[in-house]
Every structure is written in structure tokens, then in C-alpha cells.
């Protein structure tokens, strides 16, 4: 049985380590915050200029001056800090964030990622995604394994415009987990969702991968 969105978030949370500074993308990655193990200190960064994101505010306590990179209302913690956009991305680009967990439209076996545009369909922009994949020490993509038509999103080469090349270390889909060795350009199957078979993953994956 494939993993649900919540289960994918929980699986991603298992990559966290005590003391990590982490940036969570919009969508499933945001849910990861709910699965940080008790007793573990993980500090969340928001690229609009904050370290130490707290939980959503209680109703009536929302503050228009306190939002995350997804423009959702949040709260601060006793150890939070605020800074400018230039300082925030100096922090990201300078390699100070330990991990980013991001959504993806396509990932290649070399660790390329496409998650910001579909030419002719979407006028949005990359926001901070290109900075995060280029600057963060370890980048995890959390995504559906295939699109609605059943076509693999784990590819030999991305077909969409890239967000970054050779920058993804781990891919968590609804079917399985791949790790990517960016130096060797090799993707390896690490684990399967319950009752998902190697054959099913092989059938639904365009990319080459090793296993076992």
C-alpha cells in the first residue's frame, strides 16, 4: 500500500537529527514539522527572514507581520530571530542550513530537480527554491512517484526546466525511498512502502536505480 501524504512526511522526519536547522517547503514538507520526535531540537528556518518557526497561532492571535515563506500565519519561539532577506539567503547560500525538505515535480537519477515551472502553463516563479537546492547541505525531495496518468516523475533526465542540477540527496515518494550519490551519479533504492514490490517500483520508474 503506498504511503499517504502524512506517512511520507513522517518518513522524511526520520532524516532529522538533533540540533539541525531545517527549511521545509510548501505542501507535504510543511507537515514534517508535526513529526519531529519528542526531545529532539530541530530549528525551522523560513527564507523570508526567520529562524525558529513556532506552531500556527491560536485563532484571533494571527499577526500580519509574522508569516512563513508560504505566507501562512505562524508564531515565534523564545529562541527565534528575524533578519533581512539578504541575511536570510546568505545563511542559505553559505551552507548553514543542515537540511531542506522540498516538494518536486520531477527528479532525475543524477539528483537534478524540477519544481518551479511548467512552460506555457504556470507563471509563478522560483521564489527561494533555487537558492535552497544550491545552498543547503542535504536536500530531500518528497513527491508522488508518478503523475495522474501513471507516468514516472523519477526520470533519467528531467523534462521540465531545472531548479538545480545534482543537488538532491534523498527522494521520498509514495512508493519508496531512493538515495542519490551526487558524486557518482547513482540512484539506489533504499526502502519500499508496505506491500509495494520492487517490480512495481521498477515498472513505475523511468530512471535507472540499483537496489539491495
Amino acid at each position: 500500500m503506498p504511503w499517504t501524504r502524512e506517512q511520507m512526511a513522517a518518513r522524511a522526519a526520520r532524516e532529522l537529527k538533533d540540533g539541525y536547522y531545517v527549511n521545509l517547503g510548501i505542501g507535504i514538507p510543511t507537515l514534517v514539522a508535526n513529526y519531529i520526535p519528542a526531545g529532539m531540537t530541530v530549528t525551522l528556518q523560513s527564507e523570508n527572514g526567520m529562524l525558529g518557526i513556532g506552531p500556527f497561532p491560536y485563532e484571533g492571535e494571527e499577526d500580519a507581520d509574522l508569516i512563513n515563506a508560504g505566507k501562512q500565519t505562524i508564531t515565534e519561539l523564545p529562541t527565534s530571530s528575524y533578519f533581512s532577506s539578504a541575511d536570510s539567503f546568505a545563511m542559505i547560500r553559505g551552507g548553514h542550513i543542515d537540511m531542506a525538505i522540498l516538494g518536486a515535480m520531477e527528479v532525475s537519477e543524477m539528483g537534478d530537480i524540477a519544481n518551479w515551472t511548467i512552460p506555457g502553463k504556470m507563471v509563478k516563479g522560483m521564489g527561494g527554491a533555487m537558492d535552497l537546492v544550491a545552498g543547503v547541505k542535504r536536500v530531500i525531495a518528497v513527491m508522488e512517484h508518478a503523475n495522474k496518468a501513471g507516468k514516472s516523475k523519477i526520470l533519467k533526465t528531467c523534462s521540465l526546466p531545472l531548479t538545480g542540477g545534482r543537488c538532491i540527496d534523498l527522494v521520498i515518494t509514495d512508493l519508496c525511498v531512493f538515495e542519490i550519490d551526487r558524486k557518482q551519479n547513482q540512484m539506489r533504492l533504499l526502502e519500499l512502502a508496505p506491500d509495494v514490490t520492487l517490480e512495481e517500483v521498477k515498472a513505475k520508474t523511468e530512471a535507472n536505480f540499483s537496489h539491495g
Binding site: 527572514g49 539578504a86 539567503f89 522560483m126 521564489g127 527561494g128 533555487m130
Partner: protein
């Protein structure tokens, strides 16, 4: 000294706008936008603007107002989603758009204020962002060269400011404001609270007054929220 304090946004804009000018506008989403100055720019009617701003407002708010009034020719931004007007103007060819990675945008603005015409970054290497730009290897990794951004006018929003133009921002409303304040020929700041000189702690100034040419007390801030997310009160007991 000829004072920096102006009675309102309209007065503060006098003599500093011209058609075809480049404008920097602070804010991320709807947080930290110079709402009074944007409204005054609409009334002012200046046209053909190149606007450098992370986003372009949302329905009826922020830079959307200038977009809707046909005053913007080109946007330099990192994210323009959740903005139907923008999308339709862009797809019709009525609006130019230069997308920058958010961190590259922020650093280009900082560089503009810091006298740094170009710098190298890993961000965007191997993507459309790096196309046509020089790249170079440092310590075995490839970097792309990006150039500074400067403007004729920057409009910024702060929480508190004194008569010298020293500014303090509040929470994530800080965002691009301090960087933009340094990168324009003229910077105008609007503040929620204009305080007397001496009311701000010199150790805590985010934008020193040297960067602010004109300052005004803003009014009627919308405090609008794009995505209101909350947790239930009941959770308090378990917190």
C-alpha cells in the same frame, strides 16, 4: 537641517518620480509593504515603471494596485503566483517579467547598495537563470556571475522610525526593506510609529538614517493576511 519628515505619502513623493523610472518596493507577500506610498504612487500616476519587488501584491492590495492601473512596464521578482491579473497581463504581452531566485534578488539589491557591481553564486547554475551569464569554477564548483541592482526610488515600510530616518522593522515584515533602503538614489520610508530622536536604541537600529531621505507616518494599515492558518484553542491544554 532641512528635515526628512514629510506630512504624508503624497508630499514625500514630490519631485522624485518620473515616467520610466526604476522602483524598489519592500515587502514579502503582504507583509512589510509600503501601503501608503503605493497608494500615493497610484494617485501620482507615474507610468512605465520597472519595479523590483519580490512579489507583485495580491488582488486589490500592494503593487497589484499599480499593475491594475497600468503603471508597471516590467517586474523584477522571484514569485508572482496567486495573482490572476499579473498572469493575464504577462500572457498578453503587456508586462515584462524578469524572474530571479529570491536569494539572488536579495543579494543583487544588497550589492547595489554596497558598491559591488558583480558577485558569484552557486544558485541557478545549470538552470535558465544562468543562461547567457559568465560562469566560473572556484574550489572545483561552478558559480554564476550576477550583477547589482539599483533603483531611482525605493519605498520601504518599517515599524518605528525617528526623525533622522533610523528604522526598526517588526518580525517578518523586515524582509527586503533594509536591503532596498540602501540601493536607491532616493529612499522614502513609511512607519507605523514616527518617534522623537532618542527614542530608539542605537544598538537596535536596522536601517541607519543615512539611507533614508524622507520619512512619513503611515496610516490605515490593512494588516491583511494572505493565508490565515491557526490551530484550535483546545490544543492549548496539550501544548
Amino acid at each position: 537641517m532641512a528635515g526628512k519628515v514629510y506630512p504624508n505619502a503624497k508630499a514625500a513623493l514630490e519631485g522624485v518620480t518620473f515616467d520610466g523610472m526604476t522602483l524598489m518596493s519592500g515587502g514579502f507577500g503582504l507583509s512589510g509593504n509600503a501601503e501608503n506610498l503605493i497608494t500615493a504612487l497610484k494617485e501620482n500616476g507615474v507610468k512605465g515603471l520597472t519595479v523590483i519587488s519580490n512579489n507583485c501584491g495580491a488582488d486589490n492590495v500592494g503593487l497589484w494596485v499599480l499593475l491594475n492601473n497600468g503603471q508597471i512596464r516590467k517586474m523584477i521578482s522571484s514569485y508572482v503566483g496567486e495573482n490572476k491579473l499579473f498572469e493575464s497581463l504577462y500572457l498578453s504581452g503587456a508586462l515584462e517579467l524578469e524572474l530571479n531566485p529570491q536569494g539572488t534578488l536579495a543579494e543583487r539589491i544588497r550589492a547595489g547598495g554596497a558598491g559591488i557591481p558583480a558577485f558569484y553564486t552557486k544558485t541557478g547554475v545549470g538552470t535558465v537563470v544562468a543562461e547567457g551569464k559568465p560562469t566560473e569554477q572556484f574550489d572545483g564548483e561552478t558559480y554564476v556571475r550576477e550583477s547589482w541592482l539599483r533603483a531611482d526610488l525605493a519605498i520601504v515600510k518599517a515599524w518605528r522610525g525617528d526623525h533622522e530616518g533610523n528604522l526598526i522593522y517588526r518580525k517578518t515584515a523586515r524582509n527586503f526593506n533594509p536591503n532596498m533602503a540602501t540601493a536607491a538614489k532616493v529612499t522614502i520610508a513609511e512607519v507605523e510609529e514616527l518617534v522623537p530622536n532618542g527614542a530608539l536604541d542605537p544598538d537596535q537600529i536596522h536601517t541607519p538614517g543615512i539611507f533614508v531621505n524622507r520619512i512619513l507616518q503611515g496610516q490605515n494599515y490593512s494588516h491583511r493576511i494572505e493565508f490565515r492558518t491557526t490551530r484550535p484553542r483546545a490544543a492549548k491544554e496539550n501544548a
